[in-house]
Amino acid sequence: MNCEVCHLKDLEVEHYEIREVLRCILHTIIFHRALGLVRPKEIDLELFEITYVQCGDLKVEKKIDEKIEQLIGWVEKHPNKKSQICLSFYEVKNKQASWFTNKIERLYWEHWYVNLNVVQQPKTAYARSHSSKDIVDSENALEERSIRRACLETSLREVLFQIIRFVNDKKDHVPPIPNREGAISFPYEITIPSSSDSAFGMDMIKRMLQTGHPTMLS
């Protein structure tokens, strides 16, 4: 089975935008992979004029929110670092028991990489905004901010279309729909960079080993 990988376009976000942006992206991906009975739920973003769709599964929502919180914690500890979130879908295969007690094997068939570049807010302009010059500066900063926000909205929209295109273009690798209750037809996991980069890398390597299919990195 193929494992397809989709690297989503980099997004430059401010700290307070992480949550909405990630929710939007992750839910959109999962909605496209929720091939069980789905009652779609559309959500209007607050920061952007964008409506995205959730699959309406509360567990999914909870899991995504948890992961996002973890990521935000990580971002706070590691400012100025790119953060990559990986959403992976896999199939579970029962493996014959070996000297590893783990009988379950995950067969990954799809990885989505969400790349965020968290930028620092231009705090300096606000910190000392007593002189008129600084006030002007902060006004400029606000203006820049709104421009930047508009750019981000465009980029986010592009990312959503990137997801849709990918879903359209790559259909063959999606496994047959298992008989599962609920909207979520395929198990998935969300990986965020852990406390150290090396660990994140290790995690990836481990996962690759697990799948046994390092596969095509498109």
Partner: protein, 635 residues
């Protein structure tokens, strides 16, 4: 072979259901029928939150493609053709209907109209009677903003047969799975395209717009013109191959659509919504008869919302008063009704309407100007939506010609009448002007404004000064109205009670009035226009030259004629021509009797005439308020 037959039958069924589902998805996010997430209908999902809660009930149709959608029977009505044959393409045009010029026949409440129009879409195939009833009015423009094409392209029979041999359960399930994926991406895509923003604005936000969305489902394509084609972008979903053909889905959409919807779609607060919706001047038939007093009188008895509808213009044209203080000007009640928001809104020059629905602010303004104000006037209290009952209204009308009030025992014994007159003055054409002035007043702050006043000018001098003033400044005096004065028509009851306090209120505002020499002084401000306003008002309300001193009747309005009738017959002047009004104080009982001669009056008349001519000469287009004003003065 039998299995292959059944497979192809299944395939056909999947395709048919795919048509149905995709139509359902498209219309659900483009047509008002589903009535949005705001409405709770009997449908399974009236809101996103409820959609999950109702998961227990799974309709058979929901199971198709494992996608449960809101009930949307209309979408299914249109499907007969494609149920018979999958080989016809299904074209869904999403149409933006813009209402423009002619709002004559638009009903007071456009909302039902909007929805009706959007619903009056034609279904299948070539009925273009979309909102026929409106086409005759010439006020509608239609524009295709999206064209969805769902199509099953059949391969040549050879291929099909070869494919058929390969076809089996796997192929079928794979096809089904892929069409599920396709439908999911369709579901997400319809919400990302620009037209969804329009849909949201129209049906989810509860705002009323000058446009609506409709749709048309047909089996053939009416080709776009080249220009249209150039404006459209295309998004093609990857076709799903089957053994016998492929299932295609694509959309052409207008990316500039968002501009259309964004113009008027600035988020409006609820009060604005009311103005926008009922109050649209274009939706107001009453506007057509602005000069008929009856028209004005009657609305006051209609329900609140209606009032808003006809008073909209006034709201718009009048200043965004920050205070809720009573004001005699007719527009006040409505203005204050919208006060809380108006003050936060962009200046009145920016009507909340979609610009394209209007002839332009000017036109509206000119309509506005035609209103005889007095009838509307009096909402004394801070509570805006209070309207005069008809009885009171008629009283008002009756009283409108009465003589100015005399307030005895005042520090400025001359002034009260002046004040009163000013306060009572309707100065209908000045609404907008006053607006300006008020705004400047607010900017300056009371104290500063006060400084701009010059206490008094003597005789004709002030008239000369006035001649340079702009219409916008004419109405300054209306500011007074904003302070503390109750409804002019309430004057009868209570205006004598606390005259002093009123004066104080003026003082607080920094308006300085000095005692006038009999008949000679006017409160005139240095600021050019303000004086004109005061003067005009004064003229309107001035008491007759001679009056029974025992009469102390609160004036509401003085129309020229009446004043004339009760005024001292001047030599050389007929009633109709003579706006000569002595300054009220001088003739009032308990005030100083002024000895004014007819020649004095005549002199003044000349000055007034001069001013009138000046005003008339300034009148152009939007300035016809001045003409009106001047006419009034001389009547």
């Amino acid at each position: 072979m039998a299995s292959s037959h059944s497979d192809s039958a299944r395939m056909e069924q999947i395709i048919t259901e795919f048509f149905a589902k995709s139509l359902h998805i498209i219309l659900e996010s483009r047509s008002p029928y589903r009535s949005s997430r705001n409405f709770s209908g009997e449908q399974a999902f009236s809101s996103p939150s409820s959609s999950t809660s109702s998961s227990s009930s799974v309709r058979p149709r929901d199971k198709w493609f494992n996608l449960a959608l809101r009930e949307f029977p209309e979408a299914l009505e249109n499907l007969d053709l494609w149920r018979q044959s999958n080989h016809e393409p299904m074209i869904v045009d999403v149409i933006l209907i813009k209402r423009s010029l002619d709002w004559d026949s638009v009903k007071l409440s456009p909302k039902p109209e909007l929805i009706k129009n959007a619903l009056s879409k034609d279904v299948y195939p070539n009925c273009w009677d979309f909102g026929n009833d409106d086409v005759g009015r010439g006020g509608k423009k239609e524009k295709i903003v999206e064209r969805w094409v769902v199509q099953y392209e059949v391969k040549k029979s050879k291929d099909c047969q070869r494919g058929g041999k390969r076809s089996g359960c796997n192929v079928l399930s794979s096809f089904y799975k892929k069409s599920m994926l396709l439908l999911r991406s369709l579901y997400a895509t319809v919400r990302l395209l620009p037209a969804y923003k329009i849909f949201r604005d129209l049906y989810l936000s509860g705002h009323i717009r000058s446009f609506s969305l409709g749709h048309r489902v047909s089996s053939f394509v009416e080709p776009f013109t080249r220009k249209e084609e150039a404006e459209m972008q295309r998004f093609g979903f990857t076709p799903v191959d089957t053994s016998c053909g492929r299932l295609c889905l694509s959309v052409q959409y207008r990316s500039s659509v968002s501009d259309i919807s964004s113009e008027p779609s600035t988020p409006l607060s609820p009060p604005q919504l009311i103005q926008d919706y009922v109050g649209s001047p274009l939706a107001d038939p009453l506007k057509r008869f602005p000069l008929l007093p009856v028209t004005h009188g009657s609305p006051s008895s209609v329900p609140f919302s209606r009032r808003h509808s006809w008073s909209y213009d006034q709201c718009r044209a009048s200043p965004p008063f920050a205070t809720c203080s009573p004001s005699p000007a007719h527009s006040e009640p409505y203005t204050s009704a919208s006060n809380p928001t108006m003050s936060r809104l962009p200046p009145p020059g920016l009507p909340p309407h979609p610009p394209d629905t209007l002839h332009g602010p000017k036109d509206v303004a000119s309509l506005d100007e035609c209103y005889p104000s007095p009838i509307y006037s009096p909402s004394p209290s801070a509570s805006p939506p209070i309207f005069i009952p008809e009885s009171q209204l008629s009283k008002v009308l009756l009283r409108s010609e009465s003589a100015p009030v005399n307030i005895p025992g005042l520090r400025f014994h001359n002034n009260p009448a002046i004040f009163k007159n000013q306060i009572l003055s309707p100065s209908p054409p000045l609404r907008e002007a006053r607006y300006e002035v008020l705004r400047s007043y607010k900017t300056l702050g009371p104290s500063q404004t006060g400084e701009t006043y010059e206490t008094v000018l003597h005789g004709k001098k002030h008239l000369k000064r006035l001649s340079g003033m702009t219409s916008a400044e004419l109405a300054f005096h209306d500011d007074f109205d904003e302070t503390e004065y109750t409804c002019p028509f309430d004057v009868e009851d209570d205006d004598m009670a606390e005259p002093g306090s009123r004066l104080e209120s003026f003082d607080q505002k920094g308006l300085v009035y000095e005692q006038l020499d009999p008949g000679a002084y006017l409160p005139v401000r240095k600021s050019t226009g303000a004086a004109v306003g005061a003067l005009v008002d004064l003229l309107n309300k001035a008491p007759p030259l001679r009056q029974d001193s025992s009469i102390s009747v609160p004036t509401s309005q003085t129309s020229g004629v009446n004043t004339c009738a009760s005024s001292f017959p001047e030599p050389n002047q007929s009633c109709t021509e003579m706006p000569v009004k002595e300054f009220a104080p001088c003739v009032m009982a308990s005030t100083i009797h002024v000895s004014r001669t007819a020649s004095d009056a005549f002199e003044e008349l000349q000055a007034y005439k001069e001013m009138k001519n000046m005003l008339l000469s300034q009148c152009e287009g939007p300035c016809n308020q001045l003409a009106y004003l001047a006419r009034r003065m001389l009547v």
